[in-house]
């Protein structure tokens, strides 16, 4: 067990929400591109869920044809500036790169980001749009899945209306992933691109309420990209004390509502002096790093070992550098306080024999209770699909965990209704959401054209 107390005290102060990882310079981008060997069988492409022609675009970067490079990427990925930043490249494209085994893989993500950023700064080019087909498709949700499906369908010539319940489009890209990892100006610019293809985005429309199920099923086809936005709670004592947040709420208050700028912005958030975050994924890292920026000393409690952390290695590293203290092999059992959080009681965990997932099972050590002082407690233990709309559509089947049942084309158990992204796969990644949305859009197009 590694408990990193002490180190946190030496960490630099982090206050601003400016992007942490700076991009490549032109010179570095070209040098990096020259490292690519243009493999005849490029393994990297197999690692990319949307199958970008990676050697193709990298070759153009090496030739300094940045516009050409952007066009190659855009053929498969409408949101490259976002993916270049948030894709878990180490386990996708870069993980498969032939150079990964020898030295370091080609920095595919950073190159993709460079090309996309440069294109945005020099004026973006839109892909061609086919002649109107006269078909009208409804897309529910404007996260990466909904935006991708909308862009693809618009390119095929279909009329597309996207419904989004929040007052801003983007889904998790807007309300979940913080500014310092994904600047919102970039998300907005990429959304503008989708709109420029003729897609209409209707904000403040909660489908199932503002738009009825009958109205929805009146469209020629429906794409559900409603995501996995339902926060899970641990179900422990004291969870309703003031100062206890789901990571979703904490991050939404800051990212969507700008509570970090309170009172210039009206939405408040408890900044806390001592924040405890429970969880070990990307969401937990984001919550911890946001809490640090709001000025709290942050302890992240995770029930397994540090090596088991499911978050991306780079996020864990950044969290460490920003002074987040990691308390692994521990688990909260009770939130202590009168009306507000005063502490979080935890137990120590030990690793037992492997469970179904092949990982050792954490079990609590009897009598090992201890209490961490805290005034804010954030739970980042996972999210499930939001049941609101899907439970209202007759015949729409869901599996045990609430994910929509779909075939490889994203077709649900209801005719003309397709789904992709987190709503179908459970909480996954931006690029998986986009990849599955792209296949669903192709299937919708095929079905509509066959009619």
């Amino acid at each position: 067990m590694r408990v990193l107390r002490g180190e946190a005290l030496m960490a630099k102060e982090v206050k601003d929400f400016k992007e942490v990882n700076k991009g490549l310079t032109e010179e570095n981008a070209v040098l990096e591109a020259l490292r690519c060997m243009n493999c005849v069988i490029p393994h990297c492409v197999k690692g990319c869920p949307v199958g970008i022609d990676i050697p193709g675009f990298i070759l153009k970067v090496a030739e300094k044809d940045f516009e050409g490079a952007a066009a190659v990427i855009k053929a498969d990925n409408m949101l490259p500036a976002i993916c270049g930043r948030v894709c878990p490249q180490e386990s996708q494209c870069e993980g498969e790169c032939i150079l990964a085994k020898k030295e370091k893989p080609v920095a595919i993500g950073a190159l993709e980001r460079y090309v996309a950023d440069r294109e945005r700064e020099h004026g973006m080019k839109l892909p061609e749009v086919a002649a109107p087909t006269g078909k009208h498709v409804a897309v529910v949700g404007s996260g990466p899945a909904g935006l991708t499906a909308a862009a693809e369908l618009a390119r095929f010539g279909h009329k597309v209306t996207v419904f989004e319940s929040l007052h801003e489009a983007g889904g998790v890209l807007t309300y979940g992933i913080p500014e310092f990892r994904l600047p919102k100006a970039i998300v907005k610019a990429e959304i503008e691109q989708v709109k420029a293809l003729g897609v209409e985005i209707r904000l403040n429309h909660l489908v199932g309420r503002s738009v009825t199920v009958e109205e929805l099923l009146g469209y020629d086809a429906v794409f559900l990209g409603t995501g996995a936005g339902l926060p899970y709670f641990m179900g422990i004592e004291g969870e309703n004390l003031n100062g206890v947040y789901s990571a979703n709420e904490f991050l939404t208050r800051v990212n969507l509502m700008h509570a970090n700028c309170f009172p210039e912005f009206d939405t408040p958030v408890k900044r806390g002096c001592k924040a405890v975050v429970v969880g070990g994924g990307n969401v937990a890292m984001d919550a911890a790093r946001v809490a640090r920026r709001l000025g709290a000393a942050v302890t992240l409690v995770y029930r397994r070992r540090e090596d088991d952390l499911p978050a991306r290695a780079v996020e864990v590293k950044n969290a460490h550098e920003e002074g987040v203290e990691f308390l692994c092999c521990a688990n909260p059992v009770r939130v202590v306080g009168e009306t507000a959080v005063e502490g979080v009681e935890c137990v120590r965990m030990e690793m037992c024999e492997a469970d179904e997932s092949g990982r050792p099972k954490p079990t609590c050590i009897e009598g090992s209770e201890f209490t961490l002082e805290a005034d804010v407690f954030i739970e980042a233990i996972g999210q499930g699909p939001n049941p609101l709309l899907v439970s209202m559509i007759p015949g729409l089947e869901r599996e045990r965990r609430g994910n929509l049942v779909v075939d490889e084309d994203g077709q649900t158990t209801v005719a003309r209704v397709y789904a992709a992204g987190d709503a179908a796969t459970g909480a996954a990644t931006v690029i998986w959401a986009m990849g599955s949305a792209k296949s669903a859009a192709a299937a919708i197009d095929k079905a509509l054209k066959e009619e």
Binding site: S165, L206, G229, Y245, N248, D266, L388
Partner: protein, 284 residues
Amino acid sequence: MYQVEEATQLSENVYQIWVHAPQVARHARAGQFLIIRVDETGERIPLTISATKGDSVRVIYMTVGKTTELLATKKEGDVLSDVVGPLGTPSEIKNYGTVVVIGGGVGIASTPIIAREAKEAGNHVIGIIGARNKDLLILEDEMEEVCDELFITTDDGSKGVHGFASTVLEDLLKERKIDCVWIVGPAIMMKVTSRVTIPYKVKTFVSLNPIMVDGTGMCGSCRVTVGGETKFACVDGPEFDAHQVDFDSLMQRQRMYTDEEQEAREHFHHHDHHGGCGCCGGKH
């Protein structure tokens, strides 16, 4: 952008506005609410849908802090950045027999729409509306029109029965068979009033008003304890079985941001812009 079509002051600190919001107005049912964000830097605040007319919807609100005070400055022709709804599960309306619909203070805003739907479902509808004094009573005419019987109470006796809605309710329960009760008002009023129906085992609904953010089941800010279970008021409610609700926890959570609310209000009145946060792009 959503246009304000009519704005009126109803009493000292209670206002009513009609807003053009077709997607809300066309589908709204009794017991549902909407969320308003007044402007680009605003908070999302939930308000009950009090009436609809064509593509417009009415809300009635009390000025209690920054956002409601800002809303009160909006006049006919002004616009609100965002309106989303209808949110929440509609009231469980059916033919119960005799029902009582109680509104306390600004909670009266919710009652005409519930009373009307209950009436349309075939119920004999008794209304009770109560306020601190006669100047704070609202929607008396509307309730008069839709209810079969209407009782008025004031804490100071300036109009109607001198006392609380709970007293009138208790008398009604003693003298005849009541099949269902709705109570909408401040948490403490709902807590006290709903206790009255326990011995009579009458189904009683209350409309809970915890702090909300998205209103779509995504954040958990609105969680309340009902029958020992955690529920999200914005999607599972806002109406719940009163006898199962943990009102003390609700009231405690409503006070979560007392200090911040005070700060927001002071900031609003002094309007001193600190700047430098970068969020508003220096526009304000």
